[in-house]
């Protein structure tokens, strides 16, 4: 029984961390634009490399 009690307490702490993260995310505007973000992950940051070219070849096929 005692261990259950501790487990619940630990679970609560994990949840609390999640909640605080959520509060931070909302306050700092992370959730203001959920539309473009999903496309942004596909972008190549190292644009000076030839990666865009590679991409275009793939698309052309």
């Amino acid at each position: 029984m005692e261990s259950t009690f501790y487990l619940i307490a630990i679970g609560f702490l994990f949840g609390l961390a999640g909640w605080l993260l959520f509060l931070w995310a909302v306050r700092s505007g992370q959730l203001d634009d959920i539309e473009a973000t999903k496309y942004r992950i596909l972008d190549d940051d190292d644009e000076k490399e030839n990666s865009p070219k590679k991409k275009s070849e793939k698309v052309d096929k």
Binding site: W19, V26, D32
Partner: protein, 807 residues
């Protein structure tokens, strides 16, 4: 129109904006040994920026394929001065960016801006069409950044970030915080409650039990009083004004379970904190979903509002120009619009002429020529010339303002079926309170069992909890509109599912809806009344917005003649003077009206062409028939299939058209429609729809949004094809974005299914209450069991609604 069609012979497509044009009027440039075509130097410039930065991915990944020339507008950095936030070293600006079409534009703007030396960061919000960037003023000037944007065809606007838009964003955040918090604490609470339930059945040491009870008290408090605050406040307001709405019921359910549980901690009984928290969480979820879908529809609207400048340019008598805020401008005053400017208020052109881009209102990407006497609308952009405009509308009376208001109203209205829940609450709440009090009195006074009395009274309140009721409609509508939106069908409000399901008759416009709307010339007959027949025709039709007129213009490649006193007779034709001679082009009815009498053999020719399903345009010069042009508009491939499937769904199909009876019959028989009303002008179509409604039919009108606006508004449901801008949004509730007629069938089957599921949800939610209440009153139902029942009924509603995810 889409670029999957190859350009017509002799035509090329602009590589940047996809506009189709004759090859000889294009600008071509040899780059890397390959010839590239552009419609204008602006587009070439953008292409060079993109290509030079090896950002060509943009062209491969863009997903909006509608051709349309970008508006290259002049930007004045001074307009933005008041919006800059600066902290000495870096400056920050948040502005509205027009011209963002899809996520590729977001990518391109961010890439190009962040590569500029001195720009620290650049972010574009796709949902709100706003850009935020930070820069070092000593390295780069704001002017340079803004001109980079406008050179790429994106127009930076000082974004009238209105208080209402800000408030909506803040409200959304607050709601998210409340819901997230409720979700977190409720989940923790469920964990503890599960332990307590287990303890209830198996036994539990008292000190653990007390500890768990105290924890659940702590956990449920923020849910009720922070997350549930909107309900408590709403209930308070409603009670003070003497009514009882859903909020009262929600608050009552949550507070009674909460209060009872607090009392039980001290007297030693079972707790129902979880019930009170669940009530709040589930209802909040319903509200959150509702607000979310409303906001989504609102973002397109926000973009529309921002098109209107906040000041107008006024040229004084002494030749100086001043800027005056819109609310200081009265009707009848003269304002000036220079190329690149947006028109601030509706008016008529008093002087000058210009190509005006009206795409934001009409969806038509080809600019319209405006000259003396033409109407211009707020929010449209002058591309080529200077205009002096006599203002005819106050800021709140413009077409743009009207569109915005209509859409706002549409968003605010609730589905009629949603009203059932609210109306029910008005007598449901007092009834439940009466029942709970009755239960309490009966059990304590008659049965003499005060503890059981309290328990059963709470049971009544808990079991009557409207969780499922609150979720039933919004959730089904959300899942339904999202699923159908992915297919390219935009539904403006949830109530439209209801009107679509009730539809008994579908009325189609012929041109542009059942047919492709791009007629091509098949026959030309010149009666030799005047020389240069085609040149006169093309010149006269140059200002026509009718597809037939456009086809005639496209068939003529030479120079055009000057037309004076041009006028368009909607649905009939056009007239004007060329070289002092009066020219009329239009339907036989128009020519008859103007006193033109064709020869009998000419009439026979008209008749013969019509029997082949061709539209005939008669052209008269100085009241004599000069010739005729026959055009044919091909039927969309999928039209026949769609009509057949709608017929199978039990719907009656009717075709309305401004075209001649014979032509209309030919087209109708091809696609399987038997009921045809021909020869109608836009108002005649509206009358026809009204007659159908009076005869008891529920009518859906499918049209192209511009010419059919009156009929679309008159019908119970308006559906537009191919565009979802301005006027289309105003006059119709449903827009099909990608021109595929078969989606109409999808819409019907889906709307019927959605409406069925909403009714099932409501039936379940009410039915559960009807069954459980007597059990709770008679004390058979332990509050724990009623709490479980309540949760189950919510889950059933959720599960049932999710069935709409797949079409």
């Amino acid at each position: 129109m889409s670029v999957t069609d190859a350009p017509r012979h002799g035509s090329v497509r602009c590589e940047h904006c996809l506009q189709e044009m004759p090859e000889r009027s294009s600008i071509s440039k040899k780059i890397d040994g390959q010839r590239h075509f552009f419609c204008c130097h602006g587009c070439l410039g953008v292409w060079e920026i993109v290509h030079g930065g090896s950002l060509d991915t943009f062209y491969n990944e863009r997903c909006d394929w509608t051709p349309g020339r970008p508006a290259f507008t002049a930007v004045n950095p001074a307009d933005f001065a008041s919006l800059i936030v600066t902290d000495g070293k870096t400056s920050r600006l948040d502005l509205s960016l027009s011209g963002i079409r899809c996520a590729s534009c977001v990518w391109l703007v961010e890439k190009v801006l962040s590569r500029l030396d001195g720009v620290l960061s650049a972010r574009v919000n796709y949902a709100t069409r706003r850009a935020t960037f930070e820069w070092r003023p000593e390295t780069i000037s704001l002017e340079k950044i803004l001109s980079t944007l406008s050179n790429m065809g994106y127009a930076p606007l000082p974004g009238n970030r209105t208080a209402s838009i800000d408030a909506a964003a803040a409200e959304k955040r607050e709601m998210l915080l409340r819901f997230g918090t409720a979700g977190f604490f409720s989940m923790q609470l469920m964990l503890i409650t599960a332990a307590l339930y287990a303890g209830f059945f198996q036994g539990m040491e008292t000190h653990y039990r007390t500890a768990f009870q105290l924890i659940s008290w702590v956990l449920s408090t923020p849910v009720i009083f922070y997350s549930g605050f909107p309900f408590l406040a709403g209930a308070f307001r409603s009670l003070r004004s003497g009514g009882a709405n859903m909020d009262v019921l929600v608050s009552l359910g949550a507070l009674s379970a909460y209060g009872y549980s607090v009392a039980m901690i001290f007297t030693g009984g079972e707790l129902f904190f979880d019930t009170s928290a669940m009530i709040v969480t589930f209802i909040l979820l319903g509200r959150f979903i509702e607000a979310g879908s409303r906001l989504k529809a609102g973002s397109a609207l926000t973009a529309l509002v921002e098109l209107q400048p906040s000041e107008a340019r006024i040229s004084e008598a002494n030749g100086e120009t001043t800027f005056v805020p819109l609310d200081k401008i009265s009707k009848g005053s003269l304002i000036e619009v220079i190329p690149g400017d947006r028109v601030p208020l509706d008016g008529t052109v008093a002087e000058g002429s210009a190509d005006v881009d009206e795409s934001m209102l009409t969806g038509e990407s080809v600019p319209v020529l405006k000259s003396r006497g033409s109407e211009v609308y707020a929010g449209t952009a002058s591309l080529t010339g200077r205009l002096l405009i006599r203002v005819t509308a106050e800021p709140h009376e413009t077409v743009l303002a009207r569109i915005v208001r209509t859409v706002e109203e549409a968003q605010a209205r609730k589905a009629p079926i949603q009203g059932i829940a609210d109306r029910t609450a008005a007598f449901f709440v007092p009834a439940i309170v009466l029942l709970a009090t009755g239960t309490l009195l009966w059990w304590s006074l008659v049965k003499g069992a005060p503890v059981a009395a309290l328990m059963n009274a709470v049971s009544v309140l808990v079991v009557a909890c409207p969780c499922a009721l609150g979720l039933a409609t919004p959730l089904a509508i959300l899942v339904g509109t999202t699923a159908i939106g992915r297919k390219g069908i935009l539904v403006k409000g949830g109530d439209l599912f209801e009107s679509v399901s009730r539809t008994s008759t579908v009325v189609f416009d012929k041109t542009g809806t059942l047919t492709k709307g791009r007629p091509s010339i098949t026959d030309t007959l010149d009666y030799q009344v005047s020389d240069r027949f085609m040149q006169h025709c093309a010149s006269l039709e140059a200002w026509s917005e009718h597809p037939a007129g456009k086809a005639i213009v496209a068939a003529w490649h030479g120079e055009r003649l000057r037309v004076k006193e041009f006028r368009a007779i909607p649905g009939m034709g056009v007239a004007g003077f060329i070289d002092g001679r009066q020219w009329i082009a239009g339907t036989p009815a128009l020519l008859q009206q103007e006193g033109v009498k064709p020869e009998p053999e000419q009439l026979q020719q008209v008749e013969a062409l019509r029997n082949e399903g061709k539209t005939v345009i008669l052209i008269a010069c100085e009241k004599r028939l000069a010739g005729l042009i026959a055009l044919i508009d091909t039927l969309r491939e999928e039209a026949t299939e769609m009509i057949a499937s709608l017929h199978a769904l039990g719907l009656k199909n009717i075709m309305l058209t401004g075209d001649h009876e014979v032509v209309a019959r030919t087209v109708a028989s091809h696609c399987g429609i038997t009921d045809v009303r021909a020869g109608l002008n836009p108002l005649g179509k509206a009358d026809a729809v009204r007659e159908l409604k009076q005869s008891g039919a529920t009518v859906m009108m499918a049209g192209d949004g511009i010419n059919d606006a009156p009929a679309l508004t008159e019908a119970d449901t308006g559906l537009t094809l191919g565009s979802a801008t301005g006027i289309a949004l105003e006059s119709s509730g449903i827009a099909i974005l990608n021109d595929d007629l078969r989606l109409i069938t999808t819409l019907f089957t889906h709307a019927r299914k959605s409406f069925r599921i909403i009714r099932q949800n409501l039936f379940w939610a009410f039915g559960y209450n009807m069954l459980a209440l007597p059990l709770a009153i008679s004390g058979i139902l332990h509050p724990i069991v009623s709490a479980i029942l309540m949760a189950t009924s919510s889950l059933v509603v959720v599960g049932n609604s999710l069935r709409l995810r797949n079409l």
